[in-house]
Amino acid sequence: MRVDVIMPQMGESIAEGTLTRWLKKPGDKVARDEPIFEISTDKVDAEIPSPAAGTLVEIKVQEGQTVPINVVVAQIETEAGAAAGAGKAAAQAEGAKAAPEGAKAAPAAQAPAAKQPPAASAKPAVPAGGGSDGRDRAPQAEAPAAPSAPASWGPGPSASREIPKASSLAGSGSTVDDLRRVRSSPVVRKIAQEHHVDISRLSGTGVSGRVTKKDILAAIEGGAAPAARAGGPPDRPAPAAAAAPRSAAPAPVYAPGQRSSIVPMTAMRKKIAEHMIASRRTSAHVTTVFEVDMSRVMRLREEHKQAFQERHGVKLTPTPFMVRAAVEALKAFPEINASIEGDNVVYKKDMNIGIAVALDWGLIVPVLKHADDLSLSGIAKAVADLAERARTKKLSPDDVQGGTFTITNPGIFGSLFGTPIISQPQVAILGVGVIEKRVVVVQDAIGIRPMVFLALSFDHRLIDGAVADQFMAHIKATLEQGKFAEIV
């Protein structure tokens, strides 16, 4: 089977690495733990050992390229029987259905992750709290220059941090604790951290002794229920209920007598800061806000969700409706799907929609390519696939590049609307607020409707207010009246 080799995380604050040299060529045999490539970060050069014995079959990242951590840089085809290392790698993919299939040979190699129970795969498919809403949320605006990496955003330090899957940097020093951690999913580790539970003391009922979410919830006495997740269950129309406050940084430590604590920014934080400021400096940001009645969408969703799930294997969330409505509007207003280069306007034929996805260890903004060619179910599946691959760290650099428009969802945390910062070089970004029932006037009567505020930040250099508002009116009309005929 094939084992992914990923860019390892070389430290808390390290978000990316530069691959400086391949020590092996495609076709070369490699031993487990044999150095196969070198990376450099700042003043450090490191040899990265192979996660498994086998043959290096594909190199995905070339010398000199800088990629975010956890991006797949190569693949190794393990020899028959050498599945041990591979099994371990597979087991690290969260929720992956563990390894015995390793014996089943090659072509299905990529499958273990894809075969997850649908419930799990649909979970993070919510567009998640975008970092581009001008607050300090997340690396969304990172996308243009360096694809944002799923790091450094988690609730806290090491405990919840994922050990780079295939890096096997643990090679020389993996401890029992490491192995235990590897054997539990990020969700479980996060819950464990939040409740101060030592996973290594639990006996797992999962495959090869993995501690499952059920195990840990059972272990937490009176266990205040399914611990809050950043993403929140997507099928809940009012994510306010799902959003748990989660601190972006570890609590500061104050030295005795000190009234403040000085902590250097992480590499990712600095990058976000640079991108935010660069975008502010580049674009003439204006934000317009529309309120949309989601009754129709929520009803369609309710009607079709079961059949949809059965037919397509993914949950039907409001996200594909939003993407669809945005794509329809982009078709009508091509200047929104454009960028400025010097004195020229570059119109983009492809509609590649960046969608922020919540992960247990952070957030990433994969790009839904050619969204204009996709049906609603196609969008739902593609979003679920991207989210799934984000979660199992199978995104390629290409998956996070080339966005032409971005959708972010601060609503997941209960925000009514934000004023997102544009992800350069795009010229607009749509922020989706919380969908919640509000009292509204419907045909001169008072009604209760699921409502949402949609905020569009646009670059006034290129887009006039009239165009932006017509674009938003188009989205509103689609969501409120659209047929979405091909739903099932």
Binding site: M10, I14, D42, K43, V44
Partner: protein, 232 residues
């Protein structure tokens, strides 16, 4: 507490020192537990790190040779630097597993060791944001460059004690054009024996890295490098 053996090895050729580090690191990677802090000085040599640009060496090899300066490519991180007499070079051979597996933290820790050591000599040094190394005002007094293999460290730091600073004119140090270098000698107005600075570094190193420091000579190569037998 983990033990770390330290030794001041005097003047050691660059290639020899590289071999020595490799041997120590190999032992550690093969399951050994002995960590080391090798302290020494090099004969004049320009070394090219993994990110070095050849344009940063400002003279051709023949010129450098006539000046008695060798050129070596190395597998450490960083760019171009100069080592030579009067510069205290430290090569910690540590296993950063399991609790210190963070390259940025390792660099900051090395800087911390040097900053604290310098303060004992009355030199107030610090960090420059984004520029790894130890700085006194706008001038660099120590450079870092590290190699990691399975979280075992080689290479390390170079502290200018009495270094002939004019030699840095042969290169663009660390790729930073116009970056000035300084030394303890220049700042303090007196020459310090390298042994004395080395001796001051050892306890600080133990403190920062949480190691129990003990003297111990490095393993001798099978084909014994003479310079190293005198160590201790």
């Amino acid at each position: 507490m983990r033990r770390c053996l330290h030794a001041y090895a005097g003047r050691v050729g660059y290639a020899e020192a590289a071999d020595l580090q490799e041997r120590c690191a190999r032992l550690l990677k093969d399951g050994g537990t002995v960590e080391r802090l090798l302290l020494l000085e090099h004969p004049p040599v320009i070394t090219l790190g993994r990110n070095a640009r050849s344009a940063d060496v400002l003279h051709d090899e023949a010129t450098l040779e006539s000046l008695g300066v060798a050129v070596h490519e190395t597998n450490r991180g960083g760019q171009v630097t100069y080592h030579g007499p009067g510069q205290l070079v430290g090569y910690p051979i540590l296993d950063l597993s399991p609790d210190r597996r963070d390259v940025a933290r390792y660099l900051r820790d090395l800087e911390e060791v040097l900053i604290r050591t310098l303060s004992q000599f009355g030199v107030t040094a610090g960090r420059a944001p984004g520029l790894t190394g130890v700085w006194v005002g706008p001038e660099k007094i120590a450079s870092l460059g590290v190699h990691l293999s399975r979280w075992v460290t080689t290479h390390g730091f170079a502290l200018n004690v009495n270094t002939d600073l004019s030699r840095f004119g042969l290169i663009v140090p660390c790729g930073l054009r116009g970056a000035a270098v300084t030394s303890m000698q220049r700042l303090l107005g007196r020459t310090l024996p390298l042994e004395e600075v080395a001796a001051a570094i050892v306890p600080v190193f133990g403190e920062v890295f949480g190691r129990e420091m003990a003297p111990g000579s490095p393993p001798v190569a099978p084909a014994a490098a003479p310079a190293l037998t005198e160590v201790a």
